[in-house]
């Protein structure tokens, strides 16, 4: 996200350029200044999109059609429920989020524990490192067939895909964080004769927190990416399912529904990323 603090030059404007009439106050408010650039640029993008679609005479909807075609029920009623999988997009997103929450939580618990074991024990690290390096590069969807075979159920399979996708960055960053603990921290601990438990509690955990959150943040992005893809292939409900269902329906407004869903997916992904970053900054221990 591009953010900039608005320069304080209200005084300078009136003094430095007397010939210019003062701008309306709402235009010079800090908020207006901050959102000015994004509003203009997004507006221009939408305009170009609309103009290209109208001029080319293609069936692909411009932004205006996207909104008008999906307004009822997808935008106006995000939480309608007609039974089965015919649900509002709010519900679909919540279904996806629930799967992510379960898979991601498991990945966090297992990933941090495994990362600590790897970071603290050289034998375990050397032993498992080659395996981790190979497995972490496997694309999320490659796990889906084996996951379906293993769990025989779409929901569990999707959760497993989330887990196996999200766990690697957490493991790796936690392990690196532990290895990066400055030698002097450890020396002080030794001079104070900390027990292994106190060492982990007082030194290892606080100095590793920033690394863990780097891993958690990468992982939430991957998890959200994986759930949408997994639901498109095999799921009952969820935002990925919604996109694929709209595509298969092939109705007049299908494209608009897909575009709207993509916007929602993007916004939710951004919110998830910000949320983890926010928690991380609140817990920031200032280590390293």
């Amino acid at each position: 996200m591009i953010t900039a603090s608005a320069p304080r030059r209200a005084a300078g404007q009136t003094r430095g350029r007397p010939s210019r009439p003062p701008a309306p106050t709402w235009l010079s408010s800090p908020l207006a200044r901050q959102i000015k650039a994004p509003v203009i640029c997004i507006g221009l993008t939408l305009l170009v999109w609309q103009v290209v679609c109208s001029l080319s005479g293609s069936a692909f909807p411009g932004p205006i059609q996207v909104v008008t075609q999906t307004w009822t029920p997808y935008i106006s009623k995000p939480f309608y429920d007609d039974g089965g999988t015919a649900k509002g997009m709010g519900w679909q997103i919540l279904i996806s989020l629930q799967r992510v929450a379960i898979g991601y939580s498991l990945a966090a618990v297992v990933g941090i524990a495994a990362g600590m074991a790897l970071g603290l024990n050289g034998f375990i690290r050397k032993g498992f490192d080659p395996m981790i390096q190979v497995l972490r590069t496997v694309p999320p969807l490659a796990w889906l067939p084996i996951s379906l075979l293993l769990f025989q159920q779409a929901d569990l399979a999707a959760i497993f895909v989330i887990f196996i996708t999200a766990v690697w960055p957490i493991v790796i960053n936690t392990a690196v964080g532990i290895q990066e603990i400055p030698q002097d921290y450890t020396n002080v601990a030794r001079v104070l004769r900390l027990s292994k438990r106190a060492y982990i509690r007082e030194i290892v955990i606080p100095s590793t927190v920033p690394y863990v959150f780097t891993g958690l943040r990468i992982a939430i992005g991957l998890a959200w990416l994986a759930i949408v893809a997994a639901e498109m292939l095999k799921a009952d409900g969820g935002i990925g399912y919604f996109i694929w269902d709209a595509y298969n329906a092939g109705g007049d407004s299908s494209t608009s529904q897909i575009i709207l869903a993509i916007v929602y997916v993007g916004i939710v992904g951004l919110i998830l990323d910000r949320l983890i970053a926010y928690i991380g900054s609140r817990l920031n221990t200032g280590a390293h």
Binding site: D184, N187, V191, L192, S207, V209, T285, G286, H288
Partner: protein
């Protein structure tokens, strides 16, 4: 308190890769003394410190504190490192209290001692601040307070001001000297800075590299009533120049 290092050698590795770092190191330290080890990098002076601290064990020879052989780190030897040794997630006061809490002292005593030692190092007002909010010199003072708070018999200082700017270093040297005078602590200082060693220590051991060994010992009988004056006085400058030359010659012949 009596610290004795006698006939200590240290070799890292073995066989053809063996690196002989220290050869027959002997030094003594009594209560209230301030002793310095000076040498260029590679002279093994930091290894001597790590051995005394118990972070490493000697290959041969013995190190004893009050007759008890050193077998590992212990709270009778407080240590101040060059940098990065305060825990950044703890405030200055929490850093000072850290070791005492683990020693199992009562909470009230910990609080009192923390306040006392922060005052000793002149940082009573900075207790709540995090290390990153403190200057380098202040951070090192917190580190000294932390080491002192554990009530060590001897304070081991490993290039404590090496990472500081020259001006701050001079202020810190004067601070440390006054602290030593005031509290009667016992200190072993490692430094590459001849001036720093001569200024603070009553006895300076000079180390030569490859293998690290003590080649000369200087008993600095100087008038230390005013350190900034002493820094510029003729006998001090003469001695400093002589030793600096001596170290240079050692380095060029040994290197």
């Amino acid at each position: 308190m009596h610290l004795s290092v006698s006939g200590v050698s240290k070799t890292f590795g073995s066989g053809s890769k063996a690196k002989h770092v220290l050869e027959d190191i002997n030094l003594e330290l009594d209560s209230g003394e301030f002793v310095a080890l000076v040498g260029s990098s590679g002279s093994g002076k930091s290894t001597v410190m790590r051995l005394v601290a118990g972070l490493e064990l000697p290959s041969s020879g013995t190190i004893t504190v009050d007759g008890q052989p050193v077998k590992g780190p212990g709270s009778d030897r407080g240590m101040v490192f060059q940098k990065y040794s305060l825990y950044p997630w703890l405030s200055a006061a929490e850093n000072v209290a850290f070791g005492m809490q683990l020693q199992g002292r009562p909470k009230r005593e910990v609080n009192e001692r923390t306040a006392y030692f922060l005052e000793v190092v002149g940082l009573s007002d900075a207790g709540r601040r995090l290390p990153r909010e403190l200057s380098g010199g202040m951070q090192q003072r917190v580190a000294i307070a932390r080491a002192l708070a554990a009530d060590p018999k001897v304070l081991l200082l490993d290039e404590p001001f090496g990472a500081l700017d020259l001006q701050i270093r001079e202020t810190m040297q004067e601070f440390l000297y006054q602290l030593w005078e005031r509290t009667g602590l016992t200190a072993l200082l490692i430094t590459h800075d001849v001036e720093e060693a001569l200024l603070l220590a009553q006895r300076v051991h000079i180390m030569a590299p490859r293998p690290g060994r003590i080649v000369r010992t200087v008993e600095g009988k100087l008038d230390r009533r005013d350190l900034s004056f002493l820094r510029l006085s003729a006998p001090f400058l003469e001695l400093r120049e002589e030793l600096a030359n001596y170290l240079r010659v050692l380095d060029s012949t040994m290197g």
